[in-house]
Symmetry: C2
Subunit: 431 residues, 2 copies
């Protein structure tokens, strides 16, 4: 009998309790042992709960952390504290820990994994990235023979829902956000999703594993989707692109990596461009395996519970643990030095001099253009949409700072990265 | 130091030897130990080989199987014998076995896994399905909390290449096959691929794991792609479908499963319809996780080597083994009782009586139609293309046997299953 203590009985916690009950016999057959929820930490004993939780609730964390019969502690409270302190104490008390807490793992993964190793127990966090999609374990085990070159993905369902609705329904960002909140896809304070911090935490976890390096969220360059307007969606579509919040990390040389979360324009044949609404997908490129993609529901009660319970089963199986080898030091390339192609949207006066001055500023800063198009907006103003060649972000920023101050220019409305279709694309024609 | 013996130095064997060398330090860091190829079994010592194989070749299997220093035996010879005998002996001698041999695993997996369990060693076969795509381990571990409801996939790259070329270039089956052979995607005797047997072996392995049941390849209903003509590709396209060789298994009730490999028409928004050329993809549906998809190169030297080396690392890690729980008995639904929607293409005389008689035969056998369309072919003949409602395959066969013998009917040219777009499709709009 494996005794489990669950800390936090929100949506995912309830899903875990229910799944352990409904699939009890399947799980027991696969594990060769029964899994039993012994205690559940909640804040409020009076709240109505799933019937499976009856008689197990407690408001004292130590009832779980100090219970010698509990083998696996499942932390599902979220947030940095007290979750981190509880995980630490559970590991010190030689309990396996399973968590979906991307904030704690991305920031404190190293110290906690070292502690787990010293205690000889597991610290598993499959549910912290991609909900139910298997990604952490496949990267650690199935791709272990590869040098991982690149990881890119749609890691946040809320923003992907908003961008999908903006594109398909023509909604503004605000309209799409309100609908996401109404459906429960976005929280009342949506900033961690919208501003890209949620995706940055997940990218930090994946790239730490993939590159065997310590990459914390503060080392990821982050832009959110707040500035994406219907015009950008429209112009992107005209050029054959879809705008996604892309989390992307790649090796750019020995000991150097780039890690970015930012809106990106993907060609419509890019495998990630078809990922709609709250779905997530992660594309991993290894030197031997080429590109592999993992795809599914990146959030939600039962998909996330599926990943948590798989980790419980794995922890309960015992045997040799796989600890992190994510301790290597790497240099993270500063955003100003990252090169990309960029889409730029400007508002300017409708006269030839304005355009000439813009081109001059671009030329002085070494920004080559693939195309530029003028779109009418009325009132003597035009919108200018440009696609640059590959240029360093810092050079573009310098050029745009000059351009912003030109007399005929009203606004630099947006800058969006253009993700190259990978030469060896999954939908491509060669191997 | 982990000593490895490799049996078979063809394309994949060479890839494994090279990958262990080129990524030696990455692998050693992840495993915490060095992996060394000690001996390699070949048939012909005089053939030119990768330089990394030098000094390690032998033509005697027992040099590997009886070598007390070899920890892991990697079987990459393919075919049923002597591979099965060698795997058995290696397991008896308490060596871990890693294999890419789908024929041996799909037919003899049960006895070999039981033997591995008795010997306390691992028998791993990630590379037997989907090349480098992580699928076996994710199903066994990451989805362990789920009751798997359905598995469907494009599991054979050769046939997917042929069907892609027929669709995109308008080639005949024969032309596409010859090009596949020229590129090395199809063997000179391509029947195992073309007739669906290769995909059936892979489906047997996946569904045994997914449904915790013993499903051998002979229990899978199999049709190949030889009869697919350019007309079928064309008419499917007109109806908004792509034709794929689909391997599909699902639970249809307590202790009952369906397992089919056959051409299927997929709606163009189906996640598997975009998988082109030699790529593979597997869609798994679990009761908790919903649908997840795994995608990548299903064959090829280095992708397959990536999976083999991951298994070597896993075997070398030691610790508790996960054995198969695939011993449950299930009833496999006979093909005649499997219901589906079907596409039917007939050649008939161009007169109203012929059509009336066809409709009569369908009606007598309870076959309802969603649509029927008449296409001109000339010479007093027409082609009739029909989509049925959901009907048992046996009823349709009975109707078509009557129709075949009607005076005005020249030929029942083809019958193809129509795969329903899953209600909760990955590209869909809800969760």
């Amino acid at each position: 009998m494996i005794n489990v203590g669950i800390m936090g009985l929100g949506t995912v916690g309830t899903g875990v309790v229910e799944l352990l009950e409904t699939n009890r016999s399947t799980i027991a057959r696969r594990l060769g042992d029964e899994v039993e929820v012994k205690k559940i930490l909640v804040r409020d004993l009076s709240k109505k709960r799933t019937p499976y939780a009856e008689g197990k609730l407690t408001t004292r964390a130590d009832d779980i952390l100090e219970d010698g019969e509990i083998d696996v502690v499942v932390e599902l409270m979220g947030g940095e504290e007290p979750a981190r302190t509880y995980i630490k104490k559970a590991l010190e008390n030689k309990k396996h820990v399973v968590t979906a807490n991307k904030e704690v793992i991305s920031k404190h993964g190293k110290e906690l994994l070292e502690l787990a190793e010293r205690s000889g127990v597991s610290l598993l966090f499959e549910a912290s990235v991609g909900g139910g999609i298997p990604i952490i374990r496949p990267m650690k085990q199935c791709l272990a023979a590869n040098r991982i070159m690149k990881i890119s993905g749609i890691l946040n369902g809320t923003t992907n829902y908003i961008l999908t609705q903006m594109r398909e329904k023509g909604w503004s960002f605000g309209e799409a956000l309100r609908e996401a909140q109404r459906l429960g896809y976005a929280e009342s304070d949506p900033s961690a999703d919208i501003k890209g911090f949620d995706a940055a935490r997940k990218l930090a976890i994946l790239s730490s594993i993939g590159f065997n390096a310590r990459i914390t969220p503060d080392r990821v360059y982050v832009e959110g989707i707040e500035r994406i307007g219907p015009e950008d969606i429209k112009y992107a579509g005209e050029l054959g692109y879809t705008i996604k919040l892309l989390a992307s990390a790649r090796r750019t040389g020995e000991g150097r990596v780039e890690a970015v979360v930012a809106p990106a324009m993907l060609k419509e044949n890019h495998p990630l461009s078809a990922v709609r609404d709250v779905y997530n997908a992660i594309l991993v490129e290894g030197d031997a395996v080429g590109q592999v993609m993992f795809y599914g529901q990146g959030a939600g009660k039962m998909p996330t519970a599926s990943a948590v319970v798989a980790d419980i089963i794995d922890a309960a199986r015992g045997g040799k643990r796989i600890y992190c080898t994510c301790y290597g030091e790497v240099e993270v390339v500063p955003a100003s030095l990252m090169t990309s192609r960029f889409y730029v949207r400007l508002k300017a006066e409708d006269n030839p001099e304005a355009l000439a001055e813009i081109c001059g500023a671009l030329g002085r800063n070494g920004i080559g253009l693939e195309m530029a198009a003028q779109k009418g907006v009325g009132g003597g103003l035009v919108e200018i949409v440009m696609l640059t060649l590959w240029v360093p972000f810092g050079d573009l920023q310098r050029a745009l700072n000059e351009i912003k101050n030109l007399k005929g220019v009203k606004e630099v409305a947006n800058i969006i990265r253009v993700e190259e279709a990978d030469e060896d694309g999954l939908h491509g024609g060669h191997r």
